[in-house]
Structures are given as C-alpha cells and as structure tokens.
C-alpha cells in the first residue's frame, strides 16, 4: 500500500502521540475519580446488605425506633453495640448518632457562618488591599491546623476554662457584638479629623484593643453579675429553672472548635465570590444614590449569593464529616438533646472509636459500615443540594442581568 500523502515529519508525529497520550491520561484520571467515588458507595452498600438480608439480618426497627432499655421505664433511643446477656441485648439505635452529627454541624455553622461571612464581606468590600493580602494567607494557615490539635485544645484547655467561667462565656457572646456596634456608633459621632484616623477598612486593627477591653471588663463583671442575678451559681440555676444540665464537653465547645476549622474554608470561598462581583455593579448602584448598606444588601450580596451559598454548604459538608475534633471535644455521649450545654456522639467519631474492636464481618462491624454509609449519604446530599441551589441561583441572576 502506498500512501499518497507525504509522510508526516517525525516531529509532528511525536507531537501528535504526545497529545493523544495526554488526552488519554486525563480521561483516565477523570473516569478513575468517578469510578472510585462510586466504588466507595458500592463497597459500603455491599458490607451493609447482610444486615438486612440473609441469616444474620437484624430487626430493622431496632435501628430507628426506641427500644426497651434495662433500668429505664419507657423505651429509648440507644446506641450500645455490646450485649450484656439475656436481660439486656445490644442496642443498635442509629438515631442518636445521626442526631449527634447534625447537632455538632449545626452548632459549628451557627458559630462559623456569621463570623466567616462577616469577615468575607468586610475584607472583600472595605479592607485596603495591603491588609487583605496579609489576612487571607493567615486565615488559610488556620485551615492547615490538624483536627487533632484543635480537638485537643478544645477538650483539654477550652472546655475546663469555659466550665469555670460559664457566666463570662455566655456574657461574651452578647457583649462582644454589642461592643462592635457601640464602637462603630461612637466613631460616627466623632469629629471628622479623629474619625478619619479610624478608617472603616482598618476596623479589624483598631477594634482589637477595644474588644480586648470589653472582654476584660466582661470577665471582671461576670462573677458579680452571676451573684446578683442567679445567686452565684449559674449551673445550679440553669438546672433548677430551665432543666438544662451542664456537661464540660458539650455541643457549644464542639461548635466553637469545629467552627474554627470551617471558618477558613467558608471565608475563602465567600470572599472569592464577593470579589467576583463586577465593580461596575456596585459603582452603578452608588452612582444612583444607594447607600453603602443598600449596595451591599440589594446588589452585591444577591449577585454573589450562589458562591456564598456553596461556601456555606461546603463548610457544612466538612462539619458533618469531621472526626477528630468531635471525638476529642465532645465526650462521645450518645444523647438526643438539642441543648448546647450537653454532649453528643457523632457517626464519624463512633466509627473511629469502635472499628478497631469490631470483629470483622460481625453485626457490630456491619453496623459501623451502615454508619459510614449514612455519613456518606449526608455529605452527598449536602453537596448535591449546594450544587443544585447554586446553579439555580446563578441562572436566575444571569437572566435578570440579561433582561436589564
């Protein structure tokens, strides 16, 4: 056979080969990732199936219905995978664990979302470029902190401190935001030369000493206030009047610790989203006479909302899956209360604690895989929801922009 075309030069052939090879590798990588994600789900499902089918099947009601518990009058949700003989079989209630996971994530987001979004808005819209260039890497450094270290600090240092200074801690939650509002209000009243010395963009710097002072005053006043308002014993008062019992390792501590872990992620994504809003939009709004607040609230935030939403959702996904912080800071008590002052036990921490002792192939082992599957579904749902809402918001926003 004779090819009529001139033979391609060696150089060209080599380049084509390289192209094809690169394409092949990239495709293989993409498919590989997809397959491995699917394989995780399939593997978990396969490990779990014998719980529901076959000779070793367990009563599925036991997974999510309250069961009679030895020593308790009424049936309860209970996770205790060890059997204590005839009188007290093992309890496989999955609900307290799922509850613990969601509760930890909820309190973490309650702490992290306002702080992270506030920081993102401030740094994207108000902060001078010089300061922002320093702040972003610092916050990213915070993300690099290992969960074990955060959990350790929360469990062994923060928890005992908060227990000793409970009144002060609860007061700080109120006084610090109030302090910020007060400072900004006072700044507005200052004569203009002094006010110009304290630009809004540098608020993060000049607010620090002020907030430290507010914190110190709160700490100093707390025992006095506790004595005056609740007779000097806040925990006793909480237990007596509100029925809230205090555990040192509680959802509040977990929320703060895990909040610290998710803040950098939420901040970084939300900040990028806000930065991505074209300056022309904000400038246009201000040119039409909108105040800074109106510009932010009516123009910039809606435009950035898809990105902000996905930032929050990714934070939620991280909070749901986080293991070491919950393991070390929560006390691992499988309770089902909403109270921020009591402990919890999450799915991921349960897997970490119990998998080493579970006999391979046993019921307990398979239950832990079921827990893993539930966790997988949780994160899957959160991420899918984030993606769906993000695309929908983006489409709506684009249509509006196109119509204008």
């Amino acid at each position: 056979m004779i090819d009529s075309r001139p033979p391609p030069s060696l150089h060209l052939r080599r380049r084509r080969l390289r192209d094809r090879l690169a394409t092949l590798l990239i495709t293989a990588g993409g498919i590989g990732v997809l397959v491995s994600v699917l394989a995780i789900g399939v593997f978990l499902a396969l490990e779990v199936i014998p719980l529901f089918l076959g000779a070793d099947a367990i009563d599925t009601d036991a997974l999510w219905r309250p069961q009679p518990v030895e020593g308790a009058a009424e049936p309860r949700h209970r996770w205790r995978p060890e059997s204590l003989g005839e009188a007290s079989p093992a309890h496989y209630g999955m609900l307290p664990l799922a509850w613990g996971t969601l509760k930890a994530a909820l309190w973490a987001l309650l702490f992290a979302v306002p702080l992270a979004l506030g920081a993102a808005v401030h740094s994207a819209l108000y902060m001078p470029r010089r300061l922002r260039a320093r702040l972003k890497p610092t916050l990213e450094l915070m993300e690099a902190m290992p969960g074990v270290v955060v959990g350790f600090i929360a469990g062994l240092l923060l928890a005992p401190w908060v227990e000793l200074h409970l009144t002060a801690t609860l007061l700080l939650v109120v006084t610090l935001p109030l302090g910020v509002v007060l400072a900004v209000g006072v700044r507005g009243l200052l004569p203009s030369p002094l006010g110009r010395r304290l630009p809004l963009g540098w608020a993060g710097v000049w607010l620090m000493p002020w907030l430290l002072m507010v914190g110190a005053i709160t700490l100093w006043l707390a025992p006095w206030l506790e004595a005056a308002l609740v007779g000097g014993d806040l925990r006793g008062w909480l237990a007596a009047t509100l029925g809230l019992d205090y555990a040192a390792r509680n959802a509040m501590i977990v929320g703060v610790a895990m909040g610290f872990a998710v803040i950098p992620g939420i901040y970084a994504l939300a900040e990028d989203a806000l930065n991505g809003v074209p300056d022309s939009l904000a400038e246009g709004a201000q040119a039409l006479g909108a105040t800074r607040w109106q510009t932010l609230w009516r123009v910039v935030l809606p435009a950035a909302s898809p990105g902000i939403l996905s930032a929050v959702m990714i934070g939620a996904g991280r909070a749901v899956g986080e293991t070491m912080i919950v393991l070390m800071a929560s006390g691992n008590t499988a309770l089902m209360t909403l109270s921020p002052l009591e402990g919890l036990r999450s799915l991921s921490a349960t897997i970490a604690i119990e998998l080493p002792e579970a006999a391979v192939g046993g019921t307990h082992y398979r239950l832990l895989f079921l827990a893993a599957l539930v966790l997988f579904l949780f994160t899957f749902l959160v991420n899918t929801l984030a993606e769906v809402m993000r695309t929908r918001l983006r489409r709506r926003y684009q249509r509006r922009e196109g119509g204008a």
Partner: protein
Amino acid sequence: MARVDERRWLRWMSPLLGVLLLLLTVRVPADDVIGPLSAVGSDTLAGPMLRWGERLAERHPGVRLQLQASGSASAPAALTAGTARLGAMSRPMNDHEREAFIARHGYSPVELKVARDALVVIVHRHNPLESLGRRELDAIFSESRRCGADQGIERWSQLGGMLPADRIVLHGRNVASGTHDLFRRRALCGGGFRVRLNEHPGSAAVAAAVAAEPSSIGFVGLNHLTAGVRALQLHDAQGRVVSPTPRAVRRGDYPLWRYLYLYVNLPPGSALTGPEHAFLELVLSPQGQAVVEELGFVTLTEERLMQQRDWLASLPMAE
C-alpha cells in the same frame, strides 16, 4: 569498550563479594536473638510493654518491639487475623474471642499473667468524698442497677449533705478497652453504663478530664493516678473500707483488682521465635517485674512467676 571493561571488573569481583556476604551472615548469629517483635493491645499495658521492649533492646540490640496500643479488644482481633503474635490485654479473653481464635487456628492462645493492677475510682482533688459502697458505685455509673441499688444517683448531693447539687459527670474508657469491660463486669455487676458516660480513648485522658472538672468521677488503672485526682476508697464484701494501694492489691483486699495478660499465638508443640522467647523470659524475670513495680502496678506472686517460668522453660527450643 568501556562497558565491557566494567563487566570484566564485576566478574572478577563477584567471588570476593560472595565471600564477604557469607562472612557477614556467619558473623551476625553471634547474637541469635534478632528480628521483629510485634504486639497489639491494651492501652493500660502500653507503659510496661514499651519499657520491657527497651530493656530487651539493651540485651539484644537486634530486636525492636512494635506496639500498637488501641485497647484490649484489638488484641484478640489481631491474634485471630494473624497480624500479631503477642496480644496485651487488661482483662481475660472472653469466650466469644477465644472461640473465634480457635475457629481460625484450631488451638487456644497461650495465656500468661504478667502483672496485677487495680481499677481505681477517681474524683477531682477538691472533692471531699472519701469512699463509695458497691451499690452506690453501680447507682452512679449504670442505669441497670444490677448490684441492687433502689434508685440511680445522678447528683453529688445524693451521696451526702455537704456535697454540691451538681450533676455527677462520668468519665470512662471507650468500648474497646479492657478497663471499660472489666469495670462493667465487676463494678456494675455486668450491667450497662449510662449514656452520659464520657468515653475517652485512653486512661491518661480520663485522668486529665477528671482533674479538670470538679464535678466529675472516673475510673483508671492504678498507674494512671495523677496529682490532679484523688482515688476513692471502696467497700469490700465485708463492708470494710479499703484504699487502692499496692499492698491492698497484693493481699487481695481491694475489691476491683485484676490481672494483666499477655496472649501468645503458639501452635501446640512448636517453639517460640528467639525474640518472643527472650521477651517473655524478661517479663517473668525479676528485672521485668521490677519494671511492673516502677510503673505503679503490682508484681505477681513468686509462685505464679515460678509456674510460668517453668512453662517457658518446658517449651522446645528454636533451632
């Protein structure tokens, strides 16, 4: 040309290299105890195991002990799966675990007692409580109350007028731990813990948590007592109050004392490897028992030591 030269050089050198290698292999067995030694199991026994490993490495520099201490329940699992031949446990193997081992290997693991210990109930150092009875202990930690208490004890004030009304915060070990299991069997009469029990992955963490929280109570091994916590006295069967001291454990007076165990995967009639033999010999020797004493545990009786040394001596020697 250069390549050919190189090859010629190699051909000339290889017999020399071979002789050198032979010499090396002949040289090393002067100390025939060499090789890896891996153990899995109890967190309570982690301290003595590591110390024994160090002593062994002093005697036989070729031996390194690798220890994974994640809880007693991990020992039978590892022995059964064959990932380790030594398993350290702070409680005896239960029937279930033994059956699983036999089903896999066809024989029982060898059980050696290596030290005595006590489960100590600890409170914060400022807690004025002195002692607890068996029923009270059960009523505090369990919800099943199998030891016969009429009602659960949830607040300190239920134990005496001068104590505060705070809720008792419970600290203990994770389910994989032998300490957890043994406390449940012996102190709770086999019942179950309250859900409120804070589960920690190590005994040191329990002691640290109790030291940090005035309203807490917990249980650890004798060697984990720290300055921040105080050990409670317990009532024995006759109603006498006993402190958890090494002396009380030695005499068997303290109600919650226990043995610590080493399990060995050893087919009947076969020999231990050199490092295993040396390790067990060390553990049962006076030096090994001195380590036990140093770390706050209680040594075995001379009788029991002799008996186990005899067993070790009766094993066929490795070639």
